[in-house]
Symmetry: C2
Subunit: 526 residues, 2 copies
C-alpha cells in the first residue's frame, strides 16, 4: 500500500488493526530499563531506530513507521514526545491504539531527566514551532492550529489582501521555505517537494512545482474560499450551542489564484479525462503534507469548466505559507475544506477520502439530531455550498451630492458580500432597514471576475437616508442566486449540531439607534 | 431571415416595424367595397391571396405573411377571423400593430352575412378546436389554452401516468396525428413534420422523427417537470395576490422520457459540441409549432451529462399530444418552460430567445417590485430551479404491525415529494407535526432513477402515531438538497408579483384535528 493510500485510511486505523493487535504478546511494563532523554533524542528521524516518548515511557516504533495509517507524518515525533501530536490527532485516543503503542514499549525515562516527574517543557516538541507570523489584525479563534478570521475592516474589498485572508488550519503549517541537505519531517527541504499522483490503474507520477510551472499553461481565476463554519457564531447565539469554533462573518475571503489545471495535469499523467471508467473512478482524493485529507467528485476534478487548479500563486504573489506553500488545490465553488493545502498527493479512487474531514466534520444533519448516535453516512460530505450573504459595514456617509434623488444629506451606507456555491451567480441582494418588513435591492458592485463561472463573491452596497436608518429596526440582508435559491430566515430550523453552513438572514443593529437604546457600540448580530 | 429567426423575434415585433409603418400611406376606410363571407373563406391557406377578418373588416395580408414576426402560424387564421388569435397573442394589441393591419384593409363584410352585426360564431375559427380530450381527474385552471394540474390522488406514485401528468399549454395543441395530402396550418400532416436546425455558421439541417429514431442511440431518463407557477396559490393566499394561474401542488409530474441526445444531433448536424466558438454561440433557442419559444444556455444543451433529449416517447408510449407529439425538448433540471413541445426548430445563437416566455414571464423580482415599471432585464430567465417540497397526502393507517417501536396502533402517514433543480439530489426531508417547532426526518423512498444526475423528484413518507398528529398543529415539510440549500420558511419574503418559484414550507392541516375545530374536510394550505 502506497503512503498516500495508507494515510487516506486514517479514520479506520483502529478498526483495521485491532484484530491483529489482540494477538500481540502481553508486555510487562515492570522489567524494562531506564533510558536517558539524550538517548531518545539520538533515535530521531536520521537514526535507524526510531523512538518516541509518551508521558515518561519510551517506545521503539521502528517497525511501525511504515504501517502507520497516518503516513510519514509520524516521523515528526520520533526522537521526542508524541503527546502533543496525539492531542491534535485525537483519533489516537482509543484503547486499541494505546495497545499498539504499548507493544513497542522499551523502557522508562530516567527520573534524573524529569522535572516534577515530567519531561521538561523545553524538551517537548511543539508541532507548531514553525508556523509563520501572522497579521495582528486577524481575529484569532485558536492559535494551535491557527484559526483566525478576517476582521470586518479587511472584508471591504473585492480581493482580500494575502495578509488578512482568513486562516483555517487543521494542523500545523508544513515548512518548505528552505533548501537543506538535512531535510527533516519538521522542516522538509523545498528542493525535495513533489506532488505525487496515483491513477486508478496504478500509474504513479511525481511533479515538482517547477514541473507544473514549466509544462502547463498558467491559469488565473478569482475565487472565494469559505469555511463551512463561517457565521457559526450567529447560529449558536440565536438558536442553540454548536460544536466548533465561533466564526463570525470573516471565515471567508477572496483572491486571485494562479496555477495549472488539475485536468491538464491528470491528462498528462495518463488519465483519460474525457473518457474514464466511471465505475472505477469516482473521487479525487487530496492529501496535505501535514496529514489533512479530503476528496472531491471526479466530475468536478476534470470538468472543462470546473476551474480546479493546482495553485502556486495567490494575489499575484507566491502562495503564502498559511495558504499552502508551495502548492495547494483550489476547488472553486466548493467548501474551502476541499481545497487542500501543502498538497502532497492526489489519488483517483472509487471511494471518497476516508479522513474524518470527509466522513464526519463537514456534514449537516437535521435540527433534531444531536452529536450522540449520529448516522454519519446518512448525510453527504459538503461540497458545493448554499447561498450566503452578510453585512460587513454600516457607515455614516455624506450624501448631499448624491445623484440619487432620495438622498440629500446625512446617509447610512450598508455594505457586504453575497456568495453562492457551484459558481452560481448572485443575481439579487434584498436589504431591509426595518428588520425585514420592507425590502429594497442593494447595488451589486461590478468587480472583475476570472474563470468559467461565478466563483467569487459579489460585493454590494445600499445607501439610505439617516432618518430612515434611525426610524427602522435592524438592517437585514438576504441574497438570491441564479437558480433562485435564497437563504433561510431563521437559524433554528437550519440548526445542526456542528453549526455548519449557517446562512440565516444576517441582521445587524444600526449602532446609532442602539446607543440611544442604551447598548454598546459596534455592530452585533441578533 | 429564416422563419425560425423571424418567429423568435416576436417580442420585438412592434418596435422594429413601427418606424416603417409611419411611412405607410393613410388608408381611407370609407371607399372600400363590401365583401361576402364566402369570399373570405375562399382566400385561405391554399389561395394565392390570403385574407383575414378582424371584427367585420377584411384585410388582404398576402404581402405580410412572409414578414410576420410570429412566423407561419399566421396561416392558421387566413380565410377566417383573427380575433381569437389576437386574444391569445396579446402582444398584437398595440397601436402600431393595428396600424400595420390597417394598411392591408380591403373592405367590410357584407351585412347580410352578419348576425347582430357580427360574424356568426359558427364561422369564427376556434384555435383550440383540435385540442385532445383530457382525463377528467385533471384540475383545470384554464381550458383554452389548457392548464390543468395533477390532482393529489394522482401525485402518489413515482412515475405519473401519462393521462394524469399535469398539462401546461401556452397556446393550442398542434395536431400531427394524421397524414393528409391537404396539409393545413391548423392540421399539418404527420408526414411533413420536420425538426429544423440552424447552426451559428448558417448550416441548416432538417430531421424527421424517423431520422432521429433511426440514426441516434435512444436514451431513456426519468425526469420531473415542474411549472414555475407550481404552488403559486400558496404564495397568493398567504402573502399577497400574484398574477398567473393559481396552481396548487400539482403543476409537477414525473415520467420516463425516451429520445435522442440533443448533443448527438447537433454534432451530426455539424456543430463542434466540445469545441464551439464561445463568443458566437451562447444559447440554443427552441421554437414550437404553435409559436411558443424559449432557450437554454448552450453549455446545458451540449453537456455530456446534461441529458437534454429530443423526446418521442413518454412513459413508454408515444409522446401524448398534450405533451408535444410528435417531438419535444426535454431539459431536465430546468423549469419545464424550457422543454419546448411540438418542437419545430432549434437555432444556435449568441442571444437568448426573444420570446416573452424567455424575456418576461419566467423571471422573479424582489418582494418590493410590483408589475409596473419592472426592469425586465434586471433578472435572469429561470433555468435551474430551487429546492422544493410538498405534502401530497395525509392518510390514516393501521400501524399495529409496524416494525417501528414508536408505532403500535392507529397512525397517520404523511406523504409527498421533494425536488431540486440542476440534478441536485434531495438528501433530507424534515417534517413536523407541530407547525415546525420540532422536526423529524421523513423516509426517502428508493425509486429507480435513470440519467446522469438526480433529474427526478424524491418521494417521501412519514408515519406518526395518531395521538401525535392530533396533539400537534399543522404538518410541515421542508427539504434539503445536496448543496444544502433549503426552502424559505414564509411566502412573503419570497413574494414576487408573478408568483413564480413559490417554495415556502408547505403546511397542511391534519383534517381530523381541523374538523374538531369546526373546519371543513380535506387538506388545505395555510
Amino acid at each position: 500500500m502506497a503512503a498516500a493510500a495508507i494515510a487516506a485510511s486514517l479514520l479506520f486505523y483502529h478498526n483495521t488493526h485491532s484484530a491483529a493487535n489482540a494477538e500481540s504478546p502481553l508486555i510487562s511494563t515492570t522489567s524494562k530499563p531506564t533510558i536517558r532523554l539524550a538517548d531518545v533524542k539520538a533515535h530521531g528521524e536520521d537514526s535507524d531506530e526510531k523512538w518516541v516518548i509518551k508521558g515518561t515511557k519510551v517506545y521503539d516504533i521502528t517497525d511501525w513507521v511504515s504501517a502507520h495509517p497516518g503516513g510519514e507524518v509520524i516521523l515528526r515525533a520520533v526522537g521526542g514526545t508524541i503527546d502533543k501530536y496525539w492531542d491534535i490527532f485525537s483519533i489516537h485516543k482509543k484503547q486499541d491504539v494505546y495497545d499498539i503503542l504499548e507493544s513497542y514499549y522499551i523502557g522508562d525515562l530516567d527520573p534524573q531527566d524529569l522535572v516534577n516527574g515530567q519531561v521538561p517543557s523545553d524538551d517537548i516538541d511543539d508541532p507548531f514551532q514553525s508556523d509563520p507570523k501572522r497579521d495582528p489584525r486577524l481575529l484569532v479563534h485558536s492559535d494551535r492550529p491557527c484559526n483566525a478570521e478576517s476582521p470586518p475592516e479587511c472584508l471591504d474589498t473585492f480581493i482580500t489582501p494575502n495578509d488578512s485572508f482568513y486562516v483555517r488550519n487543521h494542523l500545523w503549517v508544513p515548512d518548505y521555505t528552505t533548501n537543506s541537505p538535512n531535510s527533516t519531517a519538521a522542516k522538509p527541504s523545498r528542493d525535495k517537494y513533489t506532488l505525487h499522483i496515483e491513477l486508478h490503474d496504478g500509474t504513479e507520477v511525481d511533479y515538482t512545482v517547477e514541473d507544473l510551472k514549466r509544462n502547463f499553461e498558467p491559469v488565473t481565476i478569482t475565487a472565494t474560499l469559505q469555511c463551512s463554519g463561517n457565521r457559526r457564531k450567529h447560529m449558536s447565539d440565536a438558536a442553540r450551542p454548536t460544536t466548533g469554533l465561533p466564526w463570525s462573518i470573516g471565515a471567508i475571503s477572496t483572491s486571485t489564484f494562479t496555477g495549472c489545471r488539475l485536468r491538464d495535469v491528470l491528462a498528462h499523467a495518463g488519465f483519460p479525462v474525457d473518457d474514464y471508467p466511471e465505475d472505477e473512478v469516482k473521487h479525487a482524493q487530496f492529501m496535505g503534507a501535514e496529514a489533512y485529507g479530503a476528496s472531491i467528485p471526479i466530475e468536478k476534478a476534470v470538468a472543462k469548466r470546473g476551474d480546479v487548479l493546482l495553485v502556486y500563486e495567490m494575489g499575484g504573489k507566491p502562495l503564502p505559507r498559511d495558504h499552502g506553500y508551495p502548492l495547494r488545490a483550489l476547488v472553486p465553488g466548493h467548501v474551502a475544506a476541499r481545497s487542500v493545502k501543502w498538497l502532497k498527493s492526489i489519488v483517483l479512487s472509487d471511494e471518497e477520502s476516508s479522513s474524518q474531514w470527509q466522513q464526519r466534520d463537514y456534514k449537516c444533519f437535521g435540527p433534531n439530531v444531536g452529536k450522540d448516535g449520529v448516522d454519519w453516512e446518512g448525510a453527504p460530505a459538503i461540497q458545493e455550498m448554499p447561498v450566503q450573504s452578510a453585512i460587513t459595514a454600516v457607515k455614516e456617509v455624506d450624501a448631499s451630492n448624491s445623484k440619487d434623488a432620495n438622498l440629500d444629506g446625512e446617509a447610512v451606507q450598508v455594505e457586504g458580500y453575497a456568495f453562492s456555491g457551484g459558481g452560481r451567480k448572485i443575481i439579487r441582494v434584498d436589504v431591509s432597514a426595518d428588520d425585514g418588513r420592507t425590502w429594497h435591492q442593494a447595488e451589486l458592485l461590478k468587480n472583475e471576475t476570472k474563470g468559467y463561472k461565478s466563483w467569487a463573491w459579489t460585493r454590494w452596497k445600499w445607501t439610505v437616508p439617516r432618518t430612515v436608518a434611525e426610524a427602522g429596526e435592524r438592517f437585514v440582508v438576504k441574497a438570491v442566486d441564479e437558480v433562485y435559491n435564497t437563504q433561510p430566515e431563521r437559524y433554528e430550523p437550519q440548526w445542526n449540531f456542528r453549526g455548519n453552513l449557517t446562512s440565516g438572514w444576517h441582521r445587524v443593529e444600526y449602532p446609532k439607534r442602539r446607543k440611544e437604546k442604551g447598548g454598546v457600540g459596534g455592530a452585533s448580530q441578533g
